[in-house]
């Protein structure tokens, strides 16, 4: 089981990876850096066409402020497609705007998390996320042989 991180900022990618490492999370973290790439990855097209048989990620961590296609648009397209409609999507953003949160839920986000400034708290949040979505939560995408 792996997790997909949609995040354009290298520092944030590094910090998320660091939080994964420090939490000793064994799941692979795939990273795409913009909305278009996220859709190509999930729909297995363009540069990802050769990975047609790879399982979909068990969880998507989605940043909202992405260059080009906005995070909310990515979410909308995921929810419109039958293969990705039920994928758990956690919006992970710096924004504290109420509007962003409402819009995310409106478009079918499973969860909305504001990245804490404090790295310790961020680490804890990543730990909880992994525990909940990859261990506790039963997903239609969970493949028994991977357990």
């Amino acid at each position: 089981m792996h997790i997909l991180l949609v995040e354009d900022n290298d520092d944030d990618i590094e910090l998320t990876q660091l939080a994964f490492d420090q939490n000793r999370i064994a799941n692979r973290l795939d990273v795409v850096k913009n909305g278009e790439q996220a859709l190509s990855y999930l729909f297995r097209r363009d540069e990802f066409a050769h990975r047609k048989d790879d399982p979909l990620p068990a969880l998507i961590l989605l940043d909202l402020k992405l260059p080009g296609l906005h995070g909310l648009e990515v979410l909308e397209q995921l929810r419109a497609n039958s293969t990705t409609r039920h994928l758990p999507v956690v919006v992970l953003t710096s924004s504290r705007e109420q509007e962003d949160m409402l819009q995310s839920y409106e478009r079918g986000a499973n969860s909305f998390i504001r990245k804490p400034v404090d790295f310790g708290k961020f680490k804890e949040a990543v730990h909880q996320l992994q525990l909940y979505w990859l261990v506790l939560n039963e997903s239609p995408f969970k493949q028994p042989q991977e357990d």
Binding site: N9, D11, D12, L15, L18, Q22, S94, R96, G120
Partner: protein
């Protein structure tokens, strides 16, 4: 001359009917027209009076009243004209004309004097334009707070994250002084986060609509004090919250206001051996007010006017940390409700914040 046939010869004058040679159609034409003009001239001021009474916001309403008087006077001159077809009360009609003249001269004079003011009044288009400009400014403000929310927070998080990673993962290579610097970076990031959060609250207050619900301030205060105690378990503070403090307002906003007032009371009483915080209600000048009182360090009342301005602090930041925005938020919340807030304090003798609860909203 037969008076009964030709009208009265008052004061020896001949009635106007003579000038018309008593031609019935001509007499009817003059009498009828004068009657209609007179009627209209009396009706117009009634309309003006209604406008003035129903639209009390109208500028120069006194001009409408003056117009009304002038037009009624004009109407009277026409009615007297009818009378004078048969009666020759020319002194009386002259008198009525004189009154009309007396009303018309100041009306005309004042109208001319009013011209520059009328000309400078914003037109409908001006107002539409100004409204659009305001909407744009508001939109930009929203964009700004969204930028503050995201774009300022993100780099801050990275600074905090990497300095913590440095501290945790590379502690062997950093001496004690270096660790201390890393702690300073951490704390500064937390401070800035708190400032960004408070600034956002302040700007959001302006945009958000006020809810009207019954708010139990006593319960909210109890909850806030419990939270303060949890964050600061060492402190022993005697807290006295009067029960049943309810009022109408926006629960979220009033909670935010009370939280700021109580955490100030908590913070500024920390050097007292027997700290005490009281929340209750009383009457000031016949008005019901709610107060938050502490026996902390207090402040010099001559600086009270600075208290509610953002980023103003009366005490050193290192001893009493805070963003300096808390009371500005409280002030804005109370004013948004239509209430008033004021402090009462003396240096070294604690302070009390009062706010009114009978909101006056226009």
């Amino acid at each position: 001359m037969d008076e009964s046939a030709f009208g009265t010869l008052a004061q020896g004058f001949i009635p106007h009917g003579h000038c018309y040679l008593w031609t019935p159609s001509l007499v009817m034409l003059h009498a009828g027209s004068d009657a209609l003009i007179g009627l209209a001239y009396v009706a117009i001021p009634i309309a003006l009076l209604m406008v003035v009474r129903q639209r009390r916001d109208l500028p120069f309403s006194w001009m409408f009243v003056l117009f009304g008087v002038f037009i009624v006077a004009c109407g009277l001159t026409h009615l007297v004209e009818i009378w004078n077809i048969w009666h020759s009360n020319y002194w009386f009609s002259g008198g009525v004309k004189f009154v009309t003249a007396a009303a018309s001269i100041p009306t005309a004079y004042l109208l001319f004097r009013l011209l520059p003011t009328i000309r400078s009044m914003p037109t409908r288009d001006d107002l539409v334009y100004a409204n659009r400009a305001l909407k744009n400014a508001n939109y930009e403000l929203e964009q700004f707070s969204s930028a503050v929310s995201h774009d300022l927070r993100a780099p801050l998080r990275r600074m905090s994250g990497f300095s913590e990673a440095l501290k945790n993962n590379h502690s062997g290579q950093i001496d004690e002084q270096g660790q201390h610097y890393l702690d300073r970076i951490q704390e500064a990031s937390h401070n800035m986060e708190a400032i960004i959060d408070d600034l956002l609250s302040l700007s959001r207050l302006q945009r958000e609509a006020l809810k009207n619900e019954t708010v139990d301030l006593s319960r909210i205060a109890e909850r806030i004090v419990t939270e303060l105690q949890q964050e600061d378990p060492e402190r022993r503070v005697e807290v006295d919250i009067q029960s049943g403090l309810t009022l109408q307002g926006d629960a979220n906003m009033l909670t935010m206001a009370l939280k700021n007032l109580l955490s100030n009371a908590w913070k500024f009483s920390k050097e007292q051996s027997q700290a005490r915080i009281r929340v209750g209600e009383t009457t000031v000048g016949g008005r019901r007010v709610i107060y938050v009182n502490d026996n902390g360090i207090g402040f010099d009342m001559s600086l009270a006017n600075k208290l509610f301005e953002p980023f103003q602090r009366l005490h050193g930041e290192s001893r009493y940390p805070g963003t300096g925005i808390g009371l500005a938020i409280v002030d804005r919340i109370i004013r948004k409700h239509g209430g008033e807030i004021w402090p009462e304090s003396r240096k070294g003798e604690g302070s009390t914040f009062y706010f009114t609860t009978e909101w006056r909203r226009d």
